[in-house]
């Protein structure tokens, strides 16, 4: 095992004029790890990705890829990187094969066998010689991933990769990324605002808000952390308002109903018997009490609320 991280952020920051868009980021990503980079739109995810690949200059600090500074030795650093930045923008007037050939010519050692091989991996063999303007969004995503993997990078960067993919496509992508990380020891950096998808895709995640890294943890810890669980109460829809009033009167936090007659309340497990007793004494008919593992989405809302 190689212990040098594939990516190392050393207090990397981006300033435009007086405004700091990304504040001192410092973290490592190891080989074989799928790292999720989460944050709402406008948090600075794309800016960070662009700094990692040298498209925009780093104002302070540096980013190292396999030990090479992206600012000082760009060519050595970028050689190990494959990326899709934002949309998979392709040359529409070229065929899929020509698009891949184009990028193959830019890195030494990529043979035409490798082009065929990668096209097969992403499942484009049948349409490879069609112009890419005839491709669906899903196919463009695949071709985008193919060009990123063409030169067998050590780091794969995908910026919002699930945009425009159907559920089957997302499922497939998830499996593929995990395989890539496990079998070929590639470090994968995935940015997204869609937390539910990251949850099943990533090993570890960093949460970015307003350009600051507010949390960085293993995805499992991120999701399970905290002593309160989200409890879902199902009751007679006609009595929902009455129940809500009762609960808020006793200082419990009631989240908005997803369906009529369904209340979601963050509770410690030992509070559940008291709550149910209180409701039953008031004559409210309870059809079900469920404890739910909070999703990353819930957690995310929680953290961003805390920060405000």
């Amino acid at each position: 095992m190689n212990h040098m991280p594939v990516v190392r952020f050393e207090r990397a920051a981006k300033k435009v004029g007086k405004r700091t868009i990304v504040h001192d980021l410092s973290f490592d990503i190891a080989a074989g790890e799928v790292f999720g980079f989460l944050g709402p739109n406008g948090a600075g995810k794309t800016t960070t990705v662009r700094m990692m690949v040298g498209l925009i200059k780093i104002s302070r600090g540096d980013i190292f890829i396999k030990g090479h500074s992206i600012t000082k030795s760009f060519k050595q650093a970028i050689r190990h990187v494959g990326a899709i930045v934002e949309n998979p923008d392709l040359y529409n007037y070229l065929t899929g094969y020509q698009n891949l050939k184009h990028y193959a010519r830019m890195v030494p050692g990529v043979t035409s066998d490798r082009i065929e091989e990668i096209a097969e991996t992403v499942g484009l063999t049948g349409r490879l010689h069609d112009k890419t303007k005839t491709y669906s969004l899903g196919m463009r995503q695949r071709l985008g991933i193919a060009q990123a993997l063409l030169h067998r990078p050590s780091l794969l960067i995908l910026d919002e990769p699930t945009n425009g993919l159907d559920p089957a496509g997302i499922h497939e992508l998830r499996g593929y990324l995990k395989r890539l990380a496990r079998e070929e020891d590639v470090a994968v950096f995935v940015s997204s605002h869609l937390l539910s998808e990251m949850e099943s895709m990533c090993d570890r995640a960093g949460v970015l808000q307003n350009g600051k890294l507010i949390r960085i943890e293993k995805v499992n810890d991120l999701v399970r952390g905290g002593d309160k669980k989200l409890v879902c109460l199902t009751l007679d829809p006609a009595q929902a308002q009455q129940a809500r009033n009762l609960m808020t009167a006793s200082n419990y936090e009631v989240r908005s109903e997803e369906r009529p007659g369904e209340l979601r309340i963050p509770l410690r497990p030992d509070e559940i018997p008291a709550v149910s007793q209180m409701l039953m004494q008031a004559g409210i008919r309870i059809y079900g009490i469920q404890m739910r593992e909070p999703s990353l989405e819930d957690k995310f809302l929680e953290w961003t609320e805390e920060k405000k």
Binding site: I56, K75, I84, L94, R105
Partner: protein, 311 residues
Amino acid sequence: MIGLIANESMKIYSRRLTWILLLLLLGITIGASVLGNVNSARAADWRTETEQLVRQYEDRLRIAELSPTLRADAENKLKIANYRLANDVPAPDPDPWTALLSFSGLIETVIVFAIIVGADIVAGEYTAGTMKLLLIRPHSRAAILFSKYIAVLLFAAAMLALLLLCGYAANVLFYGWGDLRATDLFLNGQGQVVQSTVSMQVLKMYGLSLFPIAAYVTFAFAVSTILRSGALAIGISLLIMIVGNSMIEATAKIEGLKYLPFANSDMSLYIFHLPARPEMTLNFSIAVLSAYIAALLLLSWIVFQQRDVSF
């Protein structure tokens, strides 16, 4: 670098626009050849014909308010016509080489088409969003930028070659193969009448035209790189070209204008001994154009190197 140039060329020749331009150039060249053939009549008796021409030029020179360029043109033609009569040298029969020499104006078509392609090669990648994926490869930005520049220059040179080849081929149909060693009378840099090989003059004129072509392409390329707008780059370049042509006359009157590229951009002026100012030479024009090309390239490189690619 070779791989990068191959990539850029692949992108140029895979676009439908490129082939439309090439077909247009082909059509215009053939059209010009047919028109040239219709207008050329072989003289029955060259002596009376030439005497007529001499009278015609003398009449023209008597017009007081003749523009300097037209006056110089008439003087040149008169000088050659008189030399023909005195030394018994008839004008050669029209052949593909003399025809090629007469449609030097088509080089402007090549310039316009090269501007169209050169204006899009950098700006187009920004518009399509492909610049991002292009720049995250192990190549310096300078290599990426200059491979594009070289690919456009090669395309312009290919168009010039196509113009020459098609023009020659079309005229072969009218006049036969022509004589590679046929000579005619020209004026040299000092204004003296000399015998020169027509085919060599043709090659000289088209070859030297690479400088003005490169100058306009570089201008369009620089505007496209700096402003990231292909439409704007085409518009500004064509405007400069139109203004530039009218500046040749002005240069005859105002000396400082000779340092602008405009009066130096028509190489046929040196073939036909019509420099905008008497002190301007072929080498002077090439030096001026090269200086502008170098400055524009430097500017493009600095901007491209420094730019944050953030959309």
